[in-house]
């Protein structure tokens, strides 16, 4: 076998303790444990003395209960049971959007926007609204200056990249150019590219209105017009948040399960962060299954085959052999990631049963911060490799 590169270690405590770390963004594809990781990081930071707040998105019921988030109130609440100064909140996408409209528009105009049927659609089901609102909320929390550290969970999506792309998509959408073209192509057009496709566009506008119906188009148009005046402030705000994400006080933590798909997504995201010059702290390889005893799978299976009249010992050997196989596969997957991204720091978090309370989050925090390489002596590693 070729020598495998060893990833630098992500020192979680150093990251959490550094007063320069102001924002930690946890990203990753769906189902890898982002929300739990965010919560565990915030609990640990608070208990190590930082004034921390965690913004979660759609946490599982028990995790929400562990953080005292039984009610949605779209503002941070203190987690009394935590050892330090910890606040937690759950994003209410619709309310964040409503509040943003109210903050940016004159009362009567705001009323007009909020009651537009098209606003109802876009504020609840447009793909990207959740990401946009998560950013908006992050911007608001950062602006208060109340927190030493803000930990942000990102919306569940197939791709970790959605978090970076969605706000852009949304501003393009709300920008109004397209909707003006659709509702009044003659007035809006007339220059450059449009001139070339002018006729096609009128036809297109007609086709679209035939398909989606005149009413929706009229609502959408009224919405965008009403929105237009506040849009300057709106976009400025999104840009400010984007700059915050690029500032040195921000650290991105990419979470992945030891599975090919999740690691592939993590790799895309790491590349993208470096393109955008966004600061990456490292990779959390979540829910790994390291072998806890240095005995090779082949040796364990041989011994199990030879056992008579000791069913417990035989079962132990076979489950150990499976576990070694799994651990080796996970190590290979990580090694593949590391050879393509040798500078990305990594910490591994061995799997725990479902997290149901603060103690569960503390345990994850402990595992996040533990240097696994140091817990296995070189001699043990060597033996387990045989």
């Amino acid at each position: 076998m070729s020598p495998t590169k060893v990833a630098p270690r992500l020192d979680v405590d150093e990251l959490l303790d550094d007063p320069e770390t102001k924002v930690i963004v946890c990203c990753g594809s769906g189902g890898v444990g982002k929300t739990t990781t965010s919560a565990a990081l915030a609990v640990r930071a608070a208990e190590r003395g930082r004034r921390a707040v965690v913004l979660t998105i759609d946490p599982a019921k028990r995790l929400a209960q562990a953080l005292g988030l039984e009610q949605l109130d779209n503002a941070p609440g203190k987690v009394e049971a935590a050892g330090g100064d910890l606040h937690a909140m759950m994003l209410d996408m619709r309310r964040t959007f409503d509040e943003m409209v109210q903050a940016h528009a004159e009362p009567d105009r705001a009323e007009k926007i909020l009651s537009n049927p098209f606003y109802q659609t876009i504020s609840s089901s447009f793909s990207g609204t959740q990401e946009y609102m998560a950013m908006e909320k992050l911007g608001q929390l950062a602006a208060t200056g109340e927190w030493d550290l803000i930990v942000v969970d990102t919306p569940p999506s197939r791709s970790a990249l959605d978090f970076l792309d969605a706000p852009q998509r949304m501003s393009t959408f709300l920008d109004g150019r397209m909707i003006r073209l659709l509702t009044a192509p003659a007035r809006a057009g007339g220059r450059g590219l449009l001139k070339i496709v002018g006729a096609g566009f009128s036809l297109f506008a007609k086709a679209v209105s035939t398909i989606i119906g005149g009413q929706l188009l009229a609502d959408a148009s009224a919405f965008v017009q009403a929105f237009d005046t506040m849009f300057g402030g709106f976009r400025e705000r999104a840009n400010a948040t984007y700059q915050l994400l690029r500032s040195p006080g921000t650290a991105f933590v990419v979470v992945a399960a030891p599975e090919p798909d999740a690691l592939r997504e993590a790799a895309y995201f790491v590349d993208r962060l470096s393109e955008e010059e966004m600061p990456l702290a490292g990779l959390v390889l979540n829910r790994t299954h390291p072998a806890l005893a240095p005995l090779s799978a082949a040796k364990a299976r041989d011994a199990a085959d030879g056992l008579r009249g000791a069913p417990l010992a035989a079962a132990v050997l076979r489950l150990h052999a499976d576990r070694v196989d799994l651990a080796e596969r996970e190590e290979r997957l990580l090694a593949r990631f590391t050879s393509a991204h040798p500078t990305v720091a990594v910490t591994e978090v061995p799997v725990v049963a479902e997290v149901a309370d603060l103690d569960g989050l503390r345990e994850i925090g402990e595992r996040l911060a533990t240097d696994r390489a140091a817990t296995l002596t070189p001699e043990r590693k060597l033996r387990s490799a045989r």
């Binding site: 189902g31 659709l182 496709v197 096609g200 297109f204 679209v208 398909i211 119906g213």
Partner: protein
């Protein structure tokens, strides 16, 4: 394994929708299902709609275009074709067909106008995607035989799937007449008929099982038929049943383990035995959680759901593994009946 297997009624279905919580392996299961249904000389189509090229990655082929392509030969001489449906391409297809946009179509797409139109009415996207799927299910060759014996749809995850399939609701966004409206009505009919089954992939863990059960209720409420629950990545249980509860509670007789190992010639130091015991406790906790999850699947739905099980493949899923999984499904009764000529 106590699987309820595949009831005969499911072999009548021609559209198999596969959903599941993110991370449960729904794309893998959809692919294995398409292979299993194609075995014995049938032809199936595997469709994806989320623009993620999951099928191409799984079958290790270049990204799929918006075009049906043969991607695998099934056991016993069938074939699987694959299609990545893209809402924008589907919309352009309509425009070409009904409005003759010509060259302008492509330019409009480049400008983002097509994306804009599909974004404007979120329901339109879903209608376009399901519309294309319906067209594949109902397409016939010159002899009047359906081109595909079955179509397997790798659908959006459980959180979104009912919305996605509930075209009736999406139609509220759209004009009340015209070609897309007609198509949408056909989709509603197909999705609510016995020709469609919605299968749900789950892991035997608390959260995915909860989502599965919630989705079953949502499907029923929307007038659609839940198909089978497919428990994926099921791992072997090595501990005898009688030892599981105690071990899950941390009670493993380390001395008995040590003595047993010694009788096999393994004299291990105490810390190594401790490591093995710790692994045993974790194994027992997982087995315990899995049987609790299975019990929920058995008892919580108002009507029992057929259940299939697929093993966890330690080496991960490659093309060979897909055939293995397909064979597992075939052994559990997965098949499609021959379609009578209309």
């Amino acid at each position: 394994m106590t699987t309820t297997d595949w009831p005969a009624a499911l072999s009548e279905a021609r559209l198999h929708v596969v959903s599941g919580k993110g991370g449960t392996g729904k794309t893998t299961v959809a692919a294995a299902l398409a292979l299993a249904l194609a075995s014995g000389g049938r032809r199936t189509l595997l469709v994806e709609v989320e623009g993620r090229q999951g099928i191409a990655q799984l079958f290790d082929t270049p990204p799929l275009p918006y075009e049906e392509r043969k991607i695998a030969v099934a056991p016993g001489g069938g074939e699987v074709r694959a299609l990545a449906v893209d809402a924008e391409a589907a919309l352009l297809e309509y425009f070409e067909l009904f409005y003759r946009l010509g060259m302008a179509g492509r330019t409009l797409r480049r400008m983002g106008a097509i994306e804009f139109a599909t974004t404007l009415a979120p329901g339109l996207r879903d209608v376009l995607l399901t519309g294309k799927v319906k067209e594949c299910v109902t397409r016939k060759d010159r002899d009047g035989r359906p081109v595909y014996d079955a179509v397997v749809l790798d659908a959006p995850p459980t959180g979104r799937v009912v919305n996605f399939l509930d075209v009736t609701a999406a139609m509220a966004d759209l004009a009340k007449s015209g070609p897309i409206h007609t198509q949408a009505k056909g989709v509603v009919q197909l999705l609510h008929s016995p020709l469609t089954a919605v299968h749900l992939v789950t892991l035997l863990e608390d959260l995915p099982v909860t989502e599965t059960l919630e989705t079953v209720d949502e499907l029923v409420a929307a007038g659609m038929r839940p198909g089978a629950v497919i428990a994926n990545q099921v791992r072997p249980q090595w501990l005898p049943d009688r030892s599981v509860a105690a071990a899950a509670g941390g009670r493993v007789d380390a001395e008995r383990v040590r003595a047993g190992l010694a009788s096999a010639g393994l004299d291990l130091p105490a810390d190594v035995v401790d490591g093995l015991v710790a692994e045993t406790v974790e194994h027992a906790q997982r087995v315990h959680a899995e049987s609790a999850a299975l019990a929920r699947l058995d008892t919580e739905p108002t009507r029992p759901l057929p259940r299939l099980e697929l093993p966890r493949l330690i080496e991960g899923v490659d093309l060979g593994a897909l055939y293995e999984l397909a064979e597992e499904l075939t052994e559990q009764g997965v098949s499609v009946n021959a379609v009578p000529v209309a």
